[in-house]
Symmetry: C2
Subunit: 169 residues, 2 copies
DNA sequence: CATTAATGGTTTGGGAGCCTACGATATGCC
DNA sequence: GGCATATCGTAGGCTCCCAAACCATTAATG
């Protein structure tokens, strides 16, 4: 009898306002559930490091990929970061407005834009990268240096395999 | 020169409409990024298995925890599933409306509700669990039986450690 | 060429989630 | 008992995301 909704009065005196012990039931062994929890926690931690004044992780991902792929267009950027292209529209508008990204039409395909970092964007990304590295060092510390490679490998396998499933439908 | 935005005409003939090779840059080694991708992929795969007709993973998580913790209240449920209590309000309303969950006021705390599965809810959860187990078996297959325990352990460590950091702020 | 199909980008609509504020009740401390 | 504080549940507002519809342009096919 766990009685998580009906607290017993007698043990509140021994240990006031303690968190009740809640069982996860079936969820306990489900990878998907733990993925979600870990992702939420990681996101929150990163956002806190960067500070609400700056931008969210989405901006960091976009800047990072744009930097690594000069003249990338928005569809390829969206595929690389795993966000829908329509999600990227306001993000990029913001980055351009702040002068971090410069955008010009492709000369070989007049539908597409070419995205590039401005010097200001480079500088901003470097600043963000400091936070991101600190964040990642903390994660390294948690999972252990030895396991980091394995963890990333497993996560990548999950992504590629499930997307492969999806394509086969 | 990767040229992701300016496709060269001459290699399109050799290999038409292939996906351009995009570098992740700094993101490559960031655990947080891969967590997000894996979570997205897992979520999408699960949702597809269950089918849009039924409910999403959030409902499955709620039902699973309610089943494992009779008379649990909404705050404890929200903490166990990692969702804000206000997020749970419409979810629970839905579950009650469909007759999966029964809700009554606690007799020792008239603010709180006591949540329990109805027989119909039990049956529905069992049906969902079949999908969830198939989904999880696929994930087991991807990460390998050997690594599953380690993966879940690492994900749990990330959650507990980062939440510990948060509490120390 | 002309017509059809595919692609890049934006807009719109809806869902899910968080945060804040609030009313109602409970608890702690005089 | 009486007041301050904490807690349970809900409502409103906001952000983020995806999916579908759409326009403009490009590629494929006859």
């Amino acid at each position: 009898m766990t009685s998580t909704g009906e607290p017993k009065a007698h043990n509140r005196a021994q240990n006031p306002r303690r968190r009740p012990q809640v069982s996860l039931g079936l969820l306990r062994n489900f990878i998907g559930f733990h993925l979600r929890r870990a992702q939420d926690a990681s996101f929150e931690s990163f956002a806190h490091r960067v500070g609400a004044a700056d931008f969210g992780p989405g901006h960091f991902a976009a800047l990072s990929v744009i930097r690594a792929n000069p003249d990338i267009n928005q569809v390829n950027l969206s595929r690389a970061t795993g966000r829908d292209k329509s999600t990227l529209t306001p993000v990029i508008r913001n980055l351009v407005k702040h002068g971090f990204v410069q955008r010009h039409r492709s000369r070989t395909d007049s539908r597409a834009y070419c995205l590039n970092l401005t010097p200001k964007g480079e500088h901003h990304l470097q600043k963000l990268a400091l936070h991101a590295e600190a964040h990642d060092r903390r994660l390294d510390q948690i999972v252990g240096e030895i396991h980091k490679g394995l963890l990333i490998h497993l996560l990548e396998r999950i992504v590629t395999e499930l997307e492969h499933d999806r394509r086969r439908r």
